[in-house]
């Protein structure tokens, strides 16, 4: 164990244990479902595992903070360019922590959200834990091919979750669209990996970053041929694949249908957690791996321009189509597309302030969008329909849920003092910093439009007089508490934003630019391999 820094074993292994625990329990879940036919046991198992994974990601974040540099974990004991490693910097660790936290809350909410006679809950938990493993693995890994494998884990579990209500036609329709496009995206990403391997002869992220900058890295040798062609193809194909995963226009079609028909917990997970993986990988590849290298500078700038344009298209499409929908989940799906546009725009700027805005908005959107999907889930469950016309006045029977929904809507629309305002403010500053003032106007207008979209839901579900007596709508405590926690976070992230900005967001966003540290940490391990070869 002397290859790692002197830390308690739990701190060293927590980052690797988090995805491993999730995937092992995902495979154990069907076996438990076969032997113990008791829904409560399954709930307890999934809840325990997601709690453990959440704690592990928290410990991992603490480890990375404590070390102050990226943490490299060797899987199977093989050093970086030879073996697959996890290379976790603060950006990744923070994002992993947020993802695990959201999944944990969604699992708690889901226990009572699904009826007690719901069919196939063991498969729901299998998919959910698999999704957690895929998300955490994608975020933590330091190897572009391992990203492909965990991307597939993430994708196939999300297909299964979308198709969860497999006796409803529209769910299957949404699932087959979602999965066909997702399978295409992962295949395209595999092609991208092929090109980067062809031109650089390596798959390790730190090694790629070093090779493109012309630095020496042991074992893998020199790049052959023109790296510009290989990197250009790699960038075009992987940007496309990641924007499909993230749901940025014009690759946003599949997420609309999927969020519309799938259970509210699944929609919340996909929009808050799975999409962030796409953004994380975009930022990691475009900025940490490729930015600042003279050989591919123009290519990377072109890639950033593409991301920026896609973000703009996404903002326009999302805000315009959001306000004319009549289905509550579809309004929220378009709102997701709109917010993905903001994040993409912020990543496309590639300035330190832009990445801060992107990270902060990813977290804020994850919290607020999960909250609004979960509250909408309460309305949909009580009224039995997703159409706004069918749920008139249902909110009056659930005052707490309605209050939480208002908080989430205001946070998403960017009303101070909630969290969405702060990240949008940082995004304005980032845009003004690079003299893109016209885009600020577009963002303000789209936020105003989106507020109309959220008000439409509140108007129908709360302001309108009820058509019928809905009975007891207010959900049980197990569903209420996750929503209250998320709402409290919406307020805390907004009001305490200066402190959170200084403590968490800025240092985390800064690490994405620290390519030198990223290479150096992996190089220290690779050097040991070199000595071994020489002896």
């Amino acid at each position: 164990m002397e290859i790692y820094p002197p830390l308690p074993p739990i701190m060293i292994h927590s980052l690797a244990l988090a995805p491993v625990t999730a995937i092992v329990s995902a495979f154990a879940m069907p076996l438990i479902g076969l032997t113990i036919k008791n829904r409560k046991v399954w709930d307890a198992f999934a809840l325990t595992i997601s709690t453990i994974v959440f704690i592990l990601t928290g410990i991992g974040y603490a480890t990375v903070r404590y070390l102050g540099k990226p943490f490299v974990y060797l899987l199977g004991g093989w050093p970086p360019p030879v073996g697959i490693v996890y290379e976790v910097d603060e950006f990744a660790a923070l994002l992993g922590l947020v993802s695990a936290f959201i999944i944990w809350l969604v699992v708690i909410y889901g226990v009572k959200y699904f009826d007690s006679n719901e069919d196939g809950m063991e498969w729901y938990y299998t998919m959910l834990l698999g999704l957690e493993a895929g998300v955490l693995g994608c975020i933590y890994t330091g190897d572009v091919f391992n990203v492909f494998v965990l991307f597939e884990v993430l994708s196939i579990t999300s297909y299964g979750l979308v198709a969860f209500w497999n006796r409803r036609g529209e769910c299957i329709e949404a699932a087959i669209k979602y999965s066909l496009i997702g399978a295409l995206a992962t295949t395209i990403y595999f092609l991208a990996v092929t090109f980067i391997y062809a031109s650089l002869g390596t798959l390790n992220m730190a090694d790629i970053a070093a090779k493109i900058r012309g630095l020496f890295f042991p074992v893998t040798g020199e790049p052959y041929g023109s790296i510009a062609l290989g990197v250009g193809l790699f960038l075009a194909l992987s940007i496309w694949a990641f924007t499909v995963e993230a749901g940025v226009a014009p690759n946003h079609f599949r997420v609309l249908d999927a969020y519309q028909v799938s259970p509210s917990t699944v929609a919340a997970l996909l929009s808050a957690v799975a999409a962030n993986v796409g953004f994380y990988l975009l930022a990691r590849y475009l900025i940490t791996l490729l930015s600042g290298a003279r050989a591919v500078e123009t290519i990377v700038n072109a890639g950033l321009l593409i991301v920026l344009i896609m973000g703009l298209v996404s903002i326009i499409v999302g805000s315009f189509l959001m306000i004319v929908q009549s289905d509550v989940n579809r309004i929220l799906a378009y709102s997701s597309v709109l917010n993905y546009g903001y994040v993409c725009l912020a990543i496309g700027l590639a300035t330190p302030l832009g990445i801060i805005a992107a990270l902060f908005h990813m977290i804020n959107h994850a919290v607020a969008k999960t909250l609004i999907f979960l509250t909408a889930g309460v309305y949909v469950k009580a009224s039995g329909t997703r159409r706004l016309d069918g749920m008139e006045g249902v909110g009056r029977y659930a005052p707490i849920t309605s209050a939480l929904m208002v908080i989430a809507a205001l946070a998403l629309a960017g009303v101070p003092p909630f969290n969405g305002f702060v990240s949008k403010l940082i995004l304005y500053e980032a845009l003004l910093e690079v003299n893109l003032a016209p885009l600020v106007i577009i963002i303000v207008l789209s936020s105003a439009l989106s507020l109309l979209g959220y008000l439409k839901i509140i108007y129908h579900a709360y302001t309108k007089p009820p058509m019928k007596d809905y009975g007891k709508v207010e959900p049980p405590k197990a569903m209420l508490w996750p929503m209250i926690i998320l709402a409290a976070l919406c307020i805390i992230l907004g009001v305490a934003s200066p402190w959170i900005y200084d403590m968490f967001i800025e240092p985390a966003a800064h690490t994405i630019f620290e390519t030198d540290k990223f290479i150096e940490v992996a190089y220290e391990f690779a050097e040991k391999l070199l000595i071994g070869v020489r002896i």
Partner: protein, 115 residues
């Protein structure tokens, strides 16, 4: 901390504006109360004399707003909803592959990739 000040300032100003707007609304309700009382005769104007309830006769204010919006942006909505968001996989794939081709073209042209 400047960020906190900006957040608080904006929050307070938006709160004041909301209060002002709400006060104006309450005032207008108070002033127009005598006119806006719905009588049977007023309701009957909207329907062709048949017996309908007040609720059915009233037009929701949201329709007033969204109709104007939809009419102004009708060409955009027609093309967005009728040609792009059709729900047919083939159309979706067309737009997605178009994006891929455009992305690659931008990278070739601006990035100066040879080949």
């Amino acid at each position: 901390m400047s960020l906190l000040m900006v957040v608080l300032e904006t929050a307070v100003s938006m709160f004041i504006v909301t209060l002002l707007a709400y006060g104006l609304y309450l005032y207008s309700v108070k002033v127009t109360k005598s006119f806006s009382r719905k009588t049977r005769e007023k309701v009957l104007i909207y329907a062709c004399g048949e017996d309908i309830t007040e609720k059915e006769a009233l037009l929701a204010d949201r329709h007033l707003f969204t109709t104007i919006w939809n009419e102004v942006f009708k060409p955009l909505y027609d093309s967005l909803r009728g040609k792009v968001h059709t729900g047919i996989l083939n159309d979706w794939f067309f737009w997605m592959f178009l994006a891929l081709i455009i992305a690659y073209t931008i990278i070739i042209v601006l990035g100066g990739v040879s080949g």
